[in-house]
């Protein structure tokens, strides 16, 4: 510890706590600053938190690596096994299934990110410093959500595009005919899925005020869903509405929708809407908890 500051702060010796330029930026700006300016400042602060913490930065790397890696492996296995399959199986093959299969595992990293962004606040007590700096809880929470949404959206988009770009050459002759609406819908669906699911996890963590509890609730649900719980006929009427399941239709992960065995009760975009509803509900629950509880 440097001793330079030891005797600083005693009065009358010409030393003090220094100063901040008090020319208030609000004076020069129009009235909308009242809302936009502080929000932008909070987003900048919350982004700084995310970037300056190794744990949060590094949870987003597996989202990309796992998704692309698994998708490539699945694509490779189809390419090698399909030539030996009967013709009807070959005809029923959906190249988009192989392209986005990795999302079912890569999403776990996104969920951990969303949970940590809020959970770390409670675990370390930073939540108190945060609310001292930004006492309006709605403002702080909005900044937090936006700051988490930015990296989630970027990583989600890169992951969706990379997954497609890597899996298609691997599939070779079985690749999708490019440029169809379903392909672009699937890419957009994968992007929205990763972004929204991360925010959903953030909302759950804010609701439960703990990383551990949030992960204890989220991981089993998400793993069970992707591990075939959705294929059990009786359960499927319910499990198809689990948050991570709803976007499977648009990503072509739910099986062929002209087959009654796999048919879901909603279409591709309705599914995305359902995930958006889940996310909105979780974020709202998190906000209400934050507003009501003592920090």
């Amino acid at each position: 510890m440097s001793g330079t500051g030891r005797n600083v702060g005693t009065s009358g010796t010409g030393m003090s706590t220094g100063t901040v330029d008090r020319a208030d930026p609000a004076l020069a700006e129009p009235a909308r600053w009242r809302l936009v300016g502080p929000l932008r400042a909070v987003v900048a602060a919350e982004l700084t938190k995310i970037v300056t913490l190794r744990s949060t930065v590094w949870t987003l790397v597996p989202a990309l690596a796992v998704t692309v890696g698994i998708s490539a492996l699945v694509a490779l296995s189809f390419r090698t096994s399909l030539p030996r399959q009967p013709a009807d199986r070959q005809a029923a093959f959906d190249p988009l299934f192989a392209t986005f299969y990795g999302v079912t595992l890569g999403q776990l990293a996104v969920v951990v990110f969303g949970v940590l962004v809020v959970g770390a606040e409670y675990r370390s007590g930073t939540i108190r410093a945060s609310l001292l700096a930004v006492p309006r809880r709605g403002l702080w929470y909005a900044g937090k959500v936006l700051a988490a949404a930015l990296p989630l959206a970027v990583v989600g988009l890169v992951t969706a595009l990379a997954s497609f770009a890597v899996a298609q050459p691997v599939l070779g002759p079985y690749a999708v005919p490019s440029g169809t609406d379903e392909v672009s819908a699937a890419v957009v669906g994968a992007w929205l899925h990763l972004t929204l699911l991360g925010l959903f996890a953030l909302g759950v963590a804010a609701l439960l005020r703990s990383s551990v509890w949030a992960l204890a609730v989220l991981l089993p649900v998400l793993l069970l869903g992707s591990q075939g719980l959705g294929n059990i006929p009786g359960l499927r009427t319910v499990t198809q509405y689990l948050p991570d399941q709803t976007t499977w239709v648009i990503m072509h992960l739910a099986g062929p929708q002209d087959d009654p065995r796999w048919l879901r009760d909603y279409g591709p975009w309705t599914g995305v809407g359902l995930l958006a509803l889940w996310t909105a509900a979780a974020l709202l629950g998190g906000y209400l908890t934050l507003r009501r509880r003592d920090a």
Partner: protein
Amino acid sequence: MPCRLRPVRPRPVRSGVHFRCGVGDFRGLFPPRSTPSLAAVIEVRELHKRYGRVVAVDRLSCTVRPGRVTGFLGPNGAGKSTTMRMLLGLDQPSGGEALIDGRPYRREVAPLRRVGALLESGAAHPGRSAYHHLLWLARSNRIPRSRITEVLELVGLAAVAGRRVGGFSLGMRQRLGIAAALLGDPPVLLFDEPVNGLDPEGIRWIRDLMRGLAAEGRTVLVSSHLMSEMALTADHLVVIDRGRLLADTGTRAFVEANSVGYVQVRTPEPERLRAVLTGAGIETRTGPDGAVHAYGVSAPRVGELVAAHQLTVHEIGARSASLEEAFMRLVEEATARRRTERESG
């Protein structure tokens, strides 16, 4: 307030040398409604906090004024931290009001330039460096980056600014928390148990810092359960126990009103002395170092008794009780009074 972010009157632009102007220089920086220099900056009115059936703060009312260090005194669990957390909008009061500059902190948008606070252990994430902790704080309130280096130097953490907080000692963490409180150069400062974990040098440093801040005209509220420390630091005391106000008074007045003086006598024949004093109807006790303490009597009267009985003494002197003793007496009295009230009603 019609608009929270824009003061009705423009604040003076301060350069780096203005703080040398001394007492009163900060008055122009207060929002207009608290411009009168002795107006209460922190106001607690009938403040109440209940956790289930436990009452943590019980209809507490007090005010804190600028230009002096106000000690917030009470034993552990008296409700000091809870009160501070309600002042800072972290806890919601069950009833009453806790205001800074006439409004609840929870409605502030970016308050770090007006209010700085240190709560237990600073609340910094162990995985983040000291500099980065202050960086996000500064960004949240649009405080210039240059200020981070300033406060790090001020608290003596400049050399370890890049190190992660997880490796910091309790004292270093406390200094980081103080740096965070000073980041916005605020006119109002709240410190919750700031000397916890500090070595004697650190304690003296923080005492000088708080007195310096108050001398510059700022409002400084410091909570502590260490009465002796408050005697050296605080000009004014707000004393609470079990969430209730026991005293709101100047430090010296508090000690004078609550201390019981005694006469200390050193003698090679303490048994005889005690017998003589007891015979004269004077209460005696033995001090920690073996000296005889006589209560309710003046030093000259003790001297006369000693002379009359031809006792050998080495020292006779009047002593006043310490703040520690004054406080314990006050708490005991309050507890006894409460017990009587309960039994009679």
